[in-house]
């Protein structure tokens, strides 16, 4: 058993499952939004505003936003632990990786909170 404390779920299966479920949510949301834009072109503000005034669209959008945050965290955590390590960068590897993980975490939380503000702060 390899210990890891900076990944999303502390467990390999958990991260793996979350990665797959969020991918499905993001796929559905992408089809939904792209489909809406294509079927309502040219798109004006009123149509867009009406779409997001519906409760379920905001729930769906929030779900997609949270999925994106989790998906990005898991994916980029894997990238960082592959390429930014003591093996690839020498003794400073761990410090650089930890710094990047903190930056990634701050950005992820900030975007998520900002997204909630945009969706629900109307």
């Amino acid at each position: 058993m390899v210990t890891a404390v900076t990944n999303l779920g502390r467990s390999g299966v958990y991260d793996w499952l979350i990665q797959r479920v969020t991918a499905v949510v993001l796929t559905l949301y992408t089809f939904f939004i792209v489909g809406f834009i294509l079927s309502n072109s040219p798109l004006d503000y009123a149509t867009w505003e009406e779409l997001f005034s519906q409760f379920w669209v905001r729930i769906f959008s929030l779900l997609a936003l949270v999925s994106l945050a989790a998906h990005a965290w898991i994916g980029l955590w894997v990238v960082l632990t592959d390429y930014v390590t003591t093996l690839t960068m020498g003794s400073k590897g761990t410090a650089i990786r930890l710094f990047l993980q903190v930056v990634l975490g701050v950005v992820t939380v900030a975007y998520t909170v900002w997204g909630i503000e945009i969706l629900w702060g109307l």
Binding site: V2, N7, G12, V13, V78, T81, T88
Partner: protein, 234 residues
């Protein structure tokens, strides 16, 4: 004349590795890569590599042949040579001891981690533990591994995390014991692999499947382990 380039490194005399070129007359024969190495060694006795059975059973002469890992003894020139040039390098990702010889300690450490032996906590029967032909068949495609390390050293996940990711060879053996009807340690075995590295660093790119000289499929075995972990956790 076949142009052969071989990775040479002697830590006692060289400050860094280099490629050495040889011209070899194969007399038009479709030799095995190991035959080529033997002929070169006659010419240049300092050339160093591992070999033993010369028939793909011992797994000693795994090396990188024209960019693809394989066993020198069972790889014919017709299969690997393009443009009359043969480039031989040690297995990638492991420390080089000398020329084509790599230090396989980390590879064996990962193999040891999966406890590759039967564990059974029920009382031993008088003669032997029996297994039905159907249960025995589940081990086909798993037990044949000869630990040549061609798969694990072709896997980028193993290159980046050789101490944390078990690697295709180790995981194939992990599943070989998980799938064995005579083994009772399934839960303990799985508990040791439920972290983000040991199994889940596999992203299924199947380099291991492409290079295995025995035609085995570690990616499929890893998929079975993942399903078992998922079943256990949900």
């Amino acid at each position: 004349m076949l142009k052969v380039e071989v990775y040479r490194y002697n830590p006692d005399t060289d400050s860094k590795p280099s490629m050495k070129s040889y011209d070899l007359d194969t007399q038009g024969k479709d030799l095995m890569v190991l035959d080529v190495l033997e002929m070169l060694k006659d010419e240049d006795p300092s050339l160093t590599y591992r070999r033993s059975c010369r028939e793909g059973v011992c797994g000693s002469d795994g090396m990188n042949i024209n960019g693809k890992n394989g066993l020198a003894c069972i790889t014919p020139l017709s299969e690997c040579v393009k443009g009359n040039k043969l480039v031989l390098r040690p297995l990638p990702g492991l420390p080089v001891i000398r020329d084509l010889i790599v230090d396989m300690s980390i590879f064996y450490a990962q193999y040891a981690k999966v406890e590759p032996y039967l564990q059974n906590n029920t009382p031993a029967p008088a003669i032997e533990r029996l297994q039905s032909p159907e249960d025995r068949a589940k081990l086909d495609g798993l037990y044949e591994c000869i630990l040549c390390a061609c798969c694990s050293t072709s896997c980028p996940s193993f290159w980046w995390n050789p101490e944390k990711f078990i690697g295709p060879a180790g995981l194939l053996q992990a599943y070989r014991f998980l799938a064995d009807s005579r083994d009772t340690a399934e839960n303990e075995r799985l508990a040791k692999m439920d972290d983000p590295f040991s199994v889940f660093r596999c992203h299924g790119i199947q380099n291991c499947v492409a290079v295995c000289p025995k035609g085995l499929n570690p990616t499929r075995a890893i998929g079975h382990i993942r399903n078992m972990l998922l079943q256990r956790a949900t």
